[in-house]
Symmetry: C2
DNA sequence: CGTATGCTTGACCCCTGTCAAGTTTGGTGG
DNA sequence: CCACCAAACTTGACAGGGGTCAAGCATACG
């Protein structure tokens, strides 16, 4: 939870944005691309453990994740923490702080991250002049909502083993959907068992014992500070989960 | 879970919509009002227990709730059910089925409900010609997201007593925010203990015992098929929850 | 008046949290 | 290069929260 200042990087042109390499994102018209480039003010890099946003903040920056992993969370006064969701490449963060009075959750970098910074005050202009992009933003919000629905089902009704299986299947599907083309190398989910515990709503000890079972059954492998998924199909089956069939998806 | 056909009601003009009586909704310009009236195709009434939408449905109707209570839920194959959130007056439902491939959750009427029906295909037109309304829709999506965040925190990290306290405080605040002006009469939350259980992620038996404690401590009163909140402040305190300070909020 | 729905309660046991102690790994500085 | 330290992961013992089973009660409704 380091709090050093983030490193500001120069602004890279949007049409050579690395995210556009990825097949799962939709294409932009050159007009859209022009506006987005204008909307963009620069890039930042955030080190692992750094706070990207904190609950209660008013009108924070608006970012799109360009690389790395982060997580959204809330904490109770006595320190109990709940991880709400993870943020990956292509995700838009900070929107809530613009629409509502203030941020209702915090975001922390799980790995080193690079973020694309947008100009705070141009959001109304985006809605006025670029309905297709406005539609995309709404789409992203609806997608976040449906992920949260699924997490609620998981925490509320799935058993420990099912919950853990669901989490890894879910995250595995997400990384793969935004991975750069040669997507056959193994993906490591950069988590700590404490993160898993705070996501699933379990204690650290019980999380450890649950993961151990998944490891023994050959579903995952646990590394230092990371999880490798070995058998996605069986994870899906244990969790009784169907991966969302995402066609092309938008991002800003 | 009755499945009789919903009763189609005649279309009422939007400028005499009962929701506009309520102070917590923002005012519309006459131009906005004109479009919304055009967008609206009629009203339906749904009886208690009726299914409003079902998971997997493609391109369902788009509605705004005019009166009554409903709930969004998901179920696992073996019947375990998780209630995700409740829908009340002013809430927009069915948006997800338009933006994504298909509905990811179901909605059922908790009481008799009346719904305002919108024309399926005019959503793109709304985004093109009425940015302020598009903004409102995004606002509504962000608000739903922040409610779900709070529920996740609750289910993941709060104790049984805290969770129940949170739920009733939350629902009490919600009804009051959309109540017609003389808002001092007691509000009854029209729930079954089974609904509470499926919301909190508990068994029915344990839910009953938890509620009993809240009753004995004078925080709530339990009626047949309903809960009356007696001490909002203490509920807030037990749940360690701050009610959102909503100023004027939008609706469509 | 019988039946369905919803609410209550007690007994029992397993899942999960807490406490406590270790082990392994990677990094840092002498 | 080695000693030390902090993070992260393990493991066992024990207790309590919450699930399951089972039975009973109350109210509404046809």
């Amino acid at each position: 939870m380091a709090t050093s200042t983030p490193a500001i990087l120069p602004r890279v042109s949007c049409d050579q944005c690395p995210l556009r390499q990825c097949r799962s994102f939709r294409d932009f018209s050159s007009e859209e691309l022009g506006f987005v480039h204008d909307f963009k003010t620069g890039e930042v890099s955030a080190a692992q453990g750094m706070s990207i946003m904190v609950e209660g903040e008013r009108n924070p920056q608006l970012y799109t994740v360009l690389s790395g992993w982060g997580f959204r969370y809330k904490i109770l006064e006595d320190g109990r923490r709940q991880i709400l969701n993870y943020v990956l490449s292509g995700d838009l963060i900070g929107l809530q702080g613009h629409l509502m009075e203030e941020m209702q959750h915090s975001i922390e970098a799980l790995t080193r991250m690079t973020l694309c910074i947008f100009e705070r005050d141009k959001l109304p202009k985006l809605f006025r002049h670029h309905p297709s992009l406005a539609y995309d933003i709404t789409w992203l919000a609806a997608r976040e909502e449906s992920m949260l629905d699924e997490h609620l089902l998981s925490i509320g009704r799935r058993s420990a083993r099912e919950r853990a299986a669901y989490l890894f299947a879910f995250l595995d599907a997400r990384v793969k959907s935004v991975a750069a083309p040669p997507a056959d190398r193994p993906f490591i989910l950069p988590l700590t068992q404490q993160h898993v515990a705070d996501t699933l709503g379990f204690s650290l000890v019980h999380t450890n014992k649950t993961l151990r079972r998944l490891v023994q059954q050959g579903l995952i492998r646990w590394l230092d500070r990371g999880c490798e998924v070995l058998d996605t199909e069986r994870l899906y089956h244990v969790a009784e989960w169907r991966p969302p069939k995402e066609g092309k998806r938008p991002f800003i």
